[in-house]
Subunit: 191 residues, 2 copies
Amino acid sequence: MANDGQHLARLRDYYARHRVLPSYARIGALVGLNSKASVADLVLRLKAEGFVESTPDRRLKPGKRFFDRPLAESVRTGLPSPAADSSPEGLSIDEYLVAHPSKTVLITVKGDSMIDAGIHPGDVVIIEKRTSANIGDIVVAIIDNEFTLKRLHKERGRIVLKPENKAYPVIRPKGDLEIFGVVVGLFRKYR
Amino acid sequence: MANDGQHLARLRDYYARHRVLPSYARIGALVGLNSKASVADLVLRLKAEGFVESTPDRRLKPGKRFFDRPLAESVRTGLPSPAADSSPEGLSIDEYLVAHPSKTVLITVKGDSMIDAGIHPGDVVIIEKRTSANIGDIVVAIIDNEFTLKRLHKERGRIVLKPENKAYPVIRPKGDLEIFGVVVGLFRKYR
DNA sequence: TACGATAGCGAACGATCGTTCGCCGGTCAA
DNA sequence: TTGACCGGCGAACGATCGTTCGCTATCGTA
């Protein structure tokens, strides 16, 4: 229906507040439908467009397009917003960055050995714990009982750890290389 | 109970996958409890610690501490086995980065004019909207109807915008400088 | 050994869930 | 003017919801 857009907006607001989608009855109260059957129709339409989905328990969950930007803001009184599109609006930063919470750890960066990769001291890197990684990944390895942040490279068939700062040497592990996890994200706070 | 930590981890993973918390019955199947009554006890304990809450419809929703992430000390050299993380020290990424949600905007960075400040194209900067800033702040200014990310400097008594990349020129605004907001944080996702 | 505390189980409860159906009142093309 | 179509309504359905209760098994302390 024509109002589906507004209804979807209400749903997004509710989700932003509670991080959960409500029952059909509450959706009805929320958007102004008096019958759960009407809500069911609405949900069916939203499902068809990919805004919501169902869990196996017949609960609603956000669909792929649920977090799409509404694009309404682009008409801002001559004020352009050309730099901002496809930013993860509606999704919290945490949810955007952390895919597997139980394997995720935050580590504060010490030192500037990766500064050419844009990783500065004081930054916090988001680590997904795992014991293997691909060439080119930035990893946290355990060298001499200490955490080390470096990029994984291959050199004459051997794995090496390359800092991204010319002032630091390449690390060529003698024995096995113990990988603690892989860097999947980063954040930084200015004060 | 002692396993509550693992159970919470399962819940967080489920939420990361589905963006929704499941019913008591499914939680039981998820964490290995055969009775919904046991799940109710578990939920009660998690509620007491602020990890989950209830909506008025008696559904579960994430609580304040649900999005806390363990923060590892990079100096933890002694133990090579990081399995046991019992540290109650957690950090919520959103709360850490966003102090004033209503004044905060996210902008995806285009171009490499600030790359020496560790701000790369594709990064997302966290902007606090305000019309004034201090010397030394990284700001989003409006130049020729476009957003520009630069650092604020003073040059012979006049305000200028300095890129942090030798390949770009300093911008010396002719008239007034219109400031959109100040960069208070940044995040980046690797894939 | 005896005890209270605790975690989990299994069964049962009324309430609410999402779904389905038939009906109503508009809109629009024929 | 008619009639098919469509969004919404209201009632009813079985299924599942979260809650509650009493019970068992295990544990540490006395």
